[in-house]
């Protein structure tokens, strides 16, 4: 029987994959994808808790807001990445290194 823990483990797997992506990827768009994985893992958690644990719809509503926020974030993020590409012809984060000290 599929229960809460199954979903939580899927979510944990997504979370750790997202973190792995953050740690290993150097391309800005790729890092954004990893962040989307993390947000999705949290959403799976919220919906699973809403179904099995809490028994109310608050989790699902929360997840809808998370999706909306993610959309806004990605829009701004891509605008910034595009500007970066325009300014120095690379989407790689390692090349973003003029601020230091």
């Amino acid at each position: 029987m599929i229960g809460l823990s199954h979903y939580l483990i899927v979510s944990a797997a997504l979370l750790s994959l997202g973190i792995l992506g953050l740690l290993t990827r150097r391309n800005a768009v790729n890092v954004l994808m990893s962040i989307e994985l993390i947000l999705n893992s949290a959403n799976v958690n919220l919906v699973a808790f809403s179904r099995f644990g809490a028994g109310n719809l608050d989790g699902q509503v929360f997840a809808v807001f998370v999706i909306v926020v993610a959309a806004a974030e990605v829009a701004v993020a891509l605008a910034i990445v595009l500007t970066m590409y325009r300014l120095r012809r690379t989407p790689n984060l390692d090349d973003a290194d003029i601020l230091r000290g």
Binding site: I2, L4, S5, Y7, L8, V10, S11, A12, A13, L14, L15, S16, L17, G18, I19, L20, G21, L23, T24, R25, R26, N27, V29, N30, L32, M33, E36, L37, V47, A48, F49, S50, R51, F52, G53, A54, G55, L57, Q60, V61, A63, V64, F65, I67, V68, V69, A70, A71, A72, E73, V74, V76, L78, A79, V81, L82, T83, Y85, P91, D94
Partner: protein, 165 residues
């Protein structure tokens, strides 16, 4: 196992495997397209969890909006005739160890914790969620619209080329 259980395994496998492709793929474009299957798998999990409205939202916004944006981002930040689009990966070893540690900790937490078990039978959620949006979560709903407005203004402002005083 019931039919729903099989379906769960299909969606869960699709989600995790394509999530792994997102992270491990050598080519950026493969990561982006793998993300499609992750989003789709997650939407399938939502359906199994009785969250039909959320599943449709997931498809509409993640697949129709965010993923398209990301694809445009990929193509606009590369010379588009280069089919391979290799991206660099660094620190794969330490990263794997950290990620595995995190997975073990969180999976362990998920298994040993005594979560509340009130539960809620799957039932159509659209009406109820609509009511919550305009009732309990009215303020959050309005705040989200302000957030989208700000993101719209901000993104348009940032990418606009010419400086205009």
């Amino acid at each position: 196992m019931t039919a729903a259980d099989y379906v769960f395994w299909v969606f869960a496998t699709a989600t995790v495997v394509s999530g792994a492709v997102v992270v491990f793929a050598r080519s950026l474009i493969y990561s982006a397209f793998a993300l499609l299957f992750t989003f789709f798998g997650v939407a399938g999990l939502y359906v199994l969890l009785g969250a039909d409205f959320l599943a449709a939202t997931q498809l509409l916004i993640y697949v129709g909006g965010i993923l398209v944006l990301l694809l445009f981002g990929v193509m606009l930040t590369h010379r588009i005739y280069d089919l391979k689009l290799r991206t660099e990966k660094t620190q794969l070893g330490p990263g794997l160890i950290v990620a595995a540690g995190i997975f073990i900790i969180f999976a362990n937490a998920a298994l040993i914790t005594e979560w509340p078990t009130v539960g809620r039978e799957p039932a159509p959620t659209t009406k109820e969620i609509g009511r919550l949006f305009l009732g309990e979560y009215l303020l959050a709903f309005e705040a989200a619209s302000v957030l989208l407005l700000v993101a719209l203004i901000g993104a348009a402002m940032i990418v606009r080329r010419k400086k205009d005083a």
